[in-house]
């Protein structure tokens, strides 16, 4: 079984083009998912390519229309970078633990495509684009098209997540909530990201996304568009209706961490609390 360590990004693209390899970044998800008995190698089933040390994937650059975050950036480095949007900082602060954040990469968090991945609702709300590259081409995919199910994403075997592009925005109000079993070091029962821009009491922009309440992050563009242009008073008056509209799309499941009734109720409570705080 090949376990390759490319020296350069170009070499990594070549390797991916030549073999069926599992991309391994910080390992914080994959090393757990594939672990064996202690002191045995993890069982990856296929070969791997270890990209954690590719310096070419560790960058953050603000350009005119986009903030570019290299996929190899660790969550801790992104959290501490002054270019990072507040909403993302708020989410990263309460994700996992310092030891995990020092190894986990943003590319890995997206590539893992877990319904409970805490950076995902934020990236949905920020209209993030996932930049995929192979030896042949480079393409941008909106995050909601990139992730199509738990662990499932539209990436070709020879592609790699090169970076995340976050469009510049004028969102002035942001909120992130993570509801885990405990205050730290927990996997989410529900996560919520909200962002809005309000001017003269009128909603100019409104975006919310929910994690861990369905197979993928739930964000409803059409419901959001209904709210744009409304006054805050209109929204408050119609809050029950808004919640019930959202309720149709929040279809969580029971599992060992929580139950569907709680997840749904709290997701809507978080939405209500966000809307009323505008």
């Amino acid at each position: 079984m090949k376990n390759l360590i490319p020296k350069t990004y170009a070499e990594a693209l070549e390797m991916l083009n030549n073999d069926n390899l599992r991309i391994l970044a910080g390992g914080t998800d994959l090393m757990i998912q594939n672990r064996s008995w202690s002191n045995m190698l993890p069982d990856f089933k296929t070969g791997t390519i270890l990209i954690f040390n590719l310096e070419e994937l560790k960058y953050m650059v603000q350009e005119e229309h986009f903030l570019h975050i290299g996929s190899g950036m660790t969550l801790e480095d992104i959290k501490d970078n002054e270019l990072t949007p507040k909403l993302l900082v708020d989410a990263l602060k309460i994700m996992a633990s310092p030891a995990i954040r020092n190894m986990a990469t943003i590319g890995g968090n997206i590539g893992n495509a877990s319904p409970a991945g805490d950076s995902l609702p934020v990236l949905y709300v920020l209209n993030a684009l996932v930049v995929l590259e192979s030896v042949e081409a480079m393409r941008d995919v909106p995050i909601h098209d990139f992730i199509i199910g738990p662990g499932k994403k539209t990436i070709k075997q020879n592609e790699i997540i090169k970076e995340i592009k976050i469009p510049t925005n004028n969102l002035t109000i942001v909120k992130f909530d993570k509801i885990g079993g405990r205050k730290a070091d927990a996997i989410s029962k529900i996560s919520f990201a909200g962002a809005a821009h309000v001017k003269n009491n009128i909603i100019q922009d409104f975006r919310v996304a929910f994690g861990a309440v369905g197979p993928t992050v739930v964000r409803k563009y059409d419901l959001e568009s209904h709210l744009v242009g409304l006054t805050l008073d209109d929204v408050s008056l119609n809050i029950k209706e808004i919640l019930s509209e959202y309720g149709k799309y929040i279809r969580p499941i029971d599992d060992q961490r929580s139950n569907k009734e709680y997840r749904k109720e709290v997701a809507l409570n978080l939405l209500e609390s966000f809307i009323l705080s505008l």
């Binding site: 202690s38 002191n39 009734e261 709290v266 978080l270």
Partner: protein, 696 residues
């Protein structure tokens, strides 16, 4: 003479901080093999056929056919097999060990073992009673017959996993016919006796040594005997050193846990609004084998009136067997379940009768001279009134409880009162354990403490040395305590039941006084002491009549919380505790027990969810089974009262379990105060709080 409570540096801290301390998984022996357990994949089944792959040379299968003695783990009953034979009774039950040098080959062998089962409908309901106890005090029938009102409530409690950070492990080697086992264990002689039984060996053919223990909390009381028996059988056959270390998930799926319990309470209220009678009916889920469940049940039943005196009571309960992982010892041992029910019930009685809960509780608070639930006597001074006042003052309880009762605040404060019987229940110490301790002074005047008590973090090494050094008035480093080795130390009993300082430490103190009298510089002297039950302690084991414990430690816990009305999550705001442990042998060590115990008790009350679905544990790793982190803990303030117990060393009583048992009711009462709904089940999860706030 200096006050013994004054803290000294723990003698084992340095090697633990440098990473030098050797836990069992750190031990390597030349030529060592690894063992892995093959387990049942069914909750209940008949094993029809086992087909093994070709076993390469140097690899071994060890199963029930290799057992020289009778196939059971010796503890109380002959019920739990070391390896399953014809049937399996729970998911994860051990069937065989696969042993060899290369873990890859072992894994490969295991994946090619085919076990054909004939499944039998498993039992998950509480219908198969293995043990039933029942006792009365006064005349509860009359009280209920004459009652003006009868108040009834049902309470239930979930599993709790010890979650010692070091998983279970054992390593063994053989020299001639003699097997030596080194393990992460609480009870070297439990292990030794179980191994003697399974091997039908002689006393001197089995040696058990303690490795540094990375936490235990009862989880390493009886369970390690199973691993030791399996390894011993393997050692006899293979004659090479073998290591058996559990992975975390394996540990959480198949090792003993705190028994889930269902408790039905009834109170007979007379026309003066007094609690004239009380009944409690308890069901605990023992899992597939009885193990220690009967003893757990009896401790629960004896705690049925908590810190109160009720004159007429009737108490009964069952250990039910189900096709689930066997439950067992866990700090508190049946008391946490019962004390949760008692503390909630008395609060609920007060609410029902529209009485001030504090006044009602004070009215029934036990006093010196009162009869215990088993018609024994509280002989020693009870200073709970002072302790309650102190706790209320520290926490501003009275103001807060009143303020928080108002709607819409979502803050709460709860106070629990409790006691814990120190040492074994009933006549266990006198009839079963008969503890023996020795002290050995060498010609260089160093004194070695020879006891089987294990330091699993609670500080035994330090406190025992302090007792000896203080009595002899010699420096601490003139006293030696080595980790127990059954070839060297006598059987001073298991490290359980809050007995170590009070009972073993008491014997060590007496032996030290003996040594002091006989002391001659430069001469080797050995002294010993054996446990003698105080004459006035009488216990009728069959009818639960008499003094169930020689002494009681007492406590008050107060917990303040905030509950989010949006997410229903609970945040701990503050924790205050007042304890009567007689006398602290080392104040900082007791404070450490206090902090750790209450967080484990509070965690049990609101955070720690473990369930089985069709016999399979669903919360089987540290990610899914939620214990508190630094982010969840709260500031804690603990006050220790001096109330010396005449027979304990320097007046010390039990402390280890006391600090856990009141945590759950305190946090549950705090949540109740915050949401103004009756809490009847723990853990009080956000999911349950939501249900209560919406419907309850």
């Amino acid at each position: 003479m200096k006050d013994i409570s004054k803290s000294v540096r723990k003698v084992d801290s340095l090697i633990k901080m440098s990473g030098e301390a050797k836990y069992v998984s750190d031990i390597k022996i030349d030529g060592m093999l690894y063992a892995k357990t093959v387990r049942s994949s069914k909750s209940k089944a008949i094993i029809k056929k086992i087909t093994l792959p070709v076993i390469p040379e140097g690899y071994h299968i060890i199963d029930h056919t290799d057992i020289p003695g009778k196939n059971f783990v010796k503890i109380i009953f002959e019920d739990m097999p070391v390896f399953a034979e014809k049937t399996v009774s729970y998911y994860g039950e051990p069937i065989m060990l696969v042993i060899g040098e290369d873990k890859n080959i072992i894994t490969d062998i295991i994946s090619n073992i085919e076990i054909e089962y004939e499944e039998v409908t498993p039992l998950f309901e509480n219908t198969n009673s293995a043990i039933n106890y029942h006792f009365t005090k006064g005349d509860s029938n009359k009280a209920f017959k004459n009652a003006k009102k009868i108040i009834k409530d049902d309470y239930d409690t979930g599993y709790q996993e010890q979650l010692y950070i070091e998983p279970q492990g054992m390593i063994g080697y053989i020299e001639g016919e003699k097997v030596t086992l080194i393990g992460s264990i609480q009870c070297p002689y439990y292990v030794k006796n179980a191994v003697i039984s399974i091997l039908e060996a002689e006393e001197d053919q089995v040696r058990v040594k303690q490795a540094v223990v990375g936490g235990a909390f009862g989880g390493k009381e009886e369970f390690p005997s199973l691993m030791a028996c399996q390894l011993a059988v393997a050692l006899r056959k293979i004659k090479k050193p073998i290591k058996l270390i559990y992975e975390r998930e394996e540990d959480m799926e198949v090792t003993t846990k705190r028994h889930p319990a269902w408790i039905h309470m009834e109170a007979a209220i007379n026309d003066k609004n007094e609690i004239d009678g009380l009944t409690a009916k308890v069901a605990i889920d023992g899992g597939a084998y009885i193990g220690l469940s009967g003893v757990v049940l009896s401790r629960a039943l004896i705690a049925s009136t908590g810190a109160y005196t009720i004159d007429n009571i009737e108490v009964g309960g069952d250990v039910f067997l189900t096709n689930t992982v066997p439950n067992g010892a866990f700090r508190g041992f049946g008391a946490p379940q019962m004390l949760f029910a008692v503390e909630m019930f008395i609060q609920h009685i007060a609410l029902e009768l529209e009485l001030d809960p504090l006044e009602l509780r004070l009215k029934y608070l036990a006093k010196q001279g009162d009869a215990t639930s088993t018609r024994g006597k509280f002989r020693d001074p009870i200073i709970m009134n002072d302790m309650i006042n102190k706790g209320m003052e520290m926490s501003d309880y009275k103001n807060k409880v009143k303020k928080y009762t108002e709607q819409g605040i979502y803050k709460g404060i709860g106070m629990s009162w409790f006691l814990h019987g120190c040492g074994f229940t009933g006549s266990g110490e006198a009839n079963h354990i008969k503890a023996l301790v020795k002290l050995q002074k060498d010609i260089d005047d160093k004194v070695t403490i020879l006891i089987a008590a294990v330091d699993m973090g609670q500080g035994v090494q330090t406190t025992m040395k302090k007792i000896v050094a203080q009595i002899l008035d010699i420096p601490l480093d003139q006293v030696i305590y080595n980790k127990p080795d059954t070839d060297l130390v006598p059987d001073s009993g298991p490290t359980v039941a809050s007995r170590t300082i009070m009972v073993v430490g008491g014997l060590v103190a007496r032996a030290t006084k003996q040594l002091k009298e006989k002391w001659v510089d430069g001469e080797a002297i050995i002294v010993s002491e054996r446990y003698k039950q105080p004459e006035y302690i009488k216990w009728d084991e069959d009818n639960f009549i008499g003094d169930a414990y020689p002494a009681y430690s007492w406590g008050v816990n107060i917990v303040e919380v905030e509950v989010s009305p949006i997410t229903y999550q609970v945040s701990l705001v503050g924790i205050w505790s007042v304890y009567d442990v007689g006398k602290a042998i080392d104040e900082r060590i007791i404070m450490g027990q206090a902090d750790g115990g209450i967080l484990q008790g509070v965690g049990y009350g609101y955070l720690e969810v473990m369930k089985n679905v069709n016999g399979k544990i669903q919360h089987k790793n540290v990610t899914d089974y939620i214990i508190p982190t630094t982010g969840d803990t709260a500031p804690m303030e603990t006050f220790l009262m001096d109330n010396p117990y005449p027979l304990g060393p320097y007046g010390a009583k039990g402390a280890g379990e006391l600090t856990l048992v009141g945590g759950a009711p305190a946090v549950a009462l705090a949540i109740e105060n915050a949401i103004n709904k009756k809490v009847k089940s723990i853990p009080v999860t956000p999911e349950y709080i939501m249900e209560l706030m919406k419907n309850g």
